[in-house]
Symmetry: C2
Subunit: 189 residues, 2 copies
């Protein structure tokens, strides 16, 4: 809406876009403070900034990618991360020389691919807070353990395997091939 130059939005309009009801929108926002003006709505620009602040998106998040195979390369080439304040500042693989050629073909300014055994040192040095796991599923837990050891608190796990982390660490899964399998199942039944 900001890109379209819209200045004001009502809770009803927001509700409609999110497919919830307007009371829910008002209630959810009220949870974080006072926004908007009764009878007018919310100023788009202000609300966007407030939501970014609430979500922790008003800062740059430094990320490490682990596993520069097929999926990892695709993630490295996904430039919108940066637009969203996420920045892949390091990439790791068990065999960096093998993958570097493939990467540099894809990216103007390639991220240096380092050996996985340097993760602890580099994570500290570059203040990495989020790790993206894009290894084969069989390696996911081992990588999660390395990230925990390196005190990387957040993990986005693209490898379709459940991993566990100690308290104080957070894992979120993005198993899109599993979701695709689920879709295929629904279509064939």
């Amino acid at each position: 809406m900001e890109e379209k130059g819209e200045k004001v939005v009502s809770s009803a309009q927001l509700a409609n876009k999110c497919m919830v009801n307007a009371a829910q929108v008002r209630k959810d926002l009220a949870y974080f403070g006072e926004f908007g003006i009764r009878g007018v709505g919310y100023f788009v620009k202000d609300l966007l900034n407030d939501i970014k602040r609430i979500l922790g998106l008003n800062k740059e998040w430094k990320m490490a990618l682990i596993g520069v195979g097929n999926l990892g390369s695709a993630l490295l080439s996904y430039k919108d991360f940066l637009k969203l304040n996420y920045n892949i500042v390091a990439a790791f693989d068990i065999d960096p020389p093998k993958v570097i050629g493939r990467i540099s073909e894809k990216l103007g300014k390639p991220v240096e691919v380092l050996h996985i055994n340097r993760i602890k040192e580099v994570a500290k040095e570059r203040k990495i807070e989020i790790g993206l796991i894009a290894t084969p599923p069989s390696e996911a837990q081992r990588v999660a353990d390395l990230l925990v050891e390196a005190e990387v608190k957040g993990i986005l796990n693209f490898a379709p395997a459940q991993v566990t982390v100690p308290e104080g660490y957070v894992v979120k899964d993005v198993f899109f091939t599993t979701i695709l399998d689920n879709l295929a199942y629904l279509l064939s039944n």
Copy 2:
């Protein structure tokens, strides 16, 4: 397990890998028929084939990609789709000439990028069953409508916007940047 040459697996082992309990594994499988041998377990190869059949993965699924921007290009370059029996057989964009250069840099044998207005005709011709939406969120519903019109029954929606489809159609969302935002929120609070 098959890749590792393992022949037999118990429900306890499966449960452990899936982080559920063994009774649940047995119950879930029993829902689809009789598998495994009491006191022995399941033959890995047979079980894999049975699960593939149940999930509808013993056939090739033809997919169309809509939106060949940043994310779309990454999806096109994701070769594991094919290994999983998913095949992107057509790609569409509102401005094919603009994106074709970018694609062919990335892929040995590029998928032809067609204008979005050809989707209905091409979907029928190439028997497309799944559409991947990788457009900006503002275009997601419009693209979903086109897919429905083209009778593409399944949609995997990567554009972070809710879309609705009529009965008989299925949408699954993969909003990984939203999941990343959620992770950032949890880390900053």
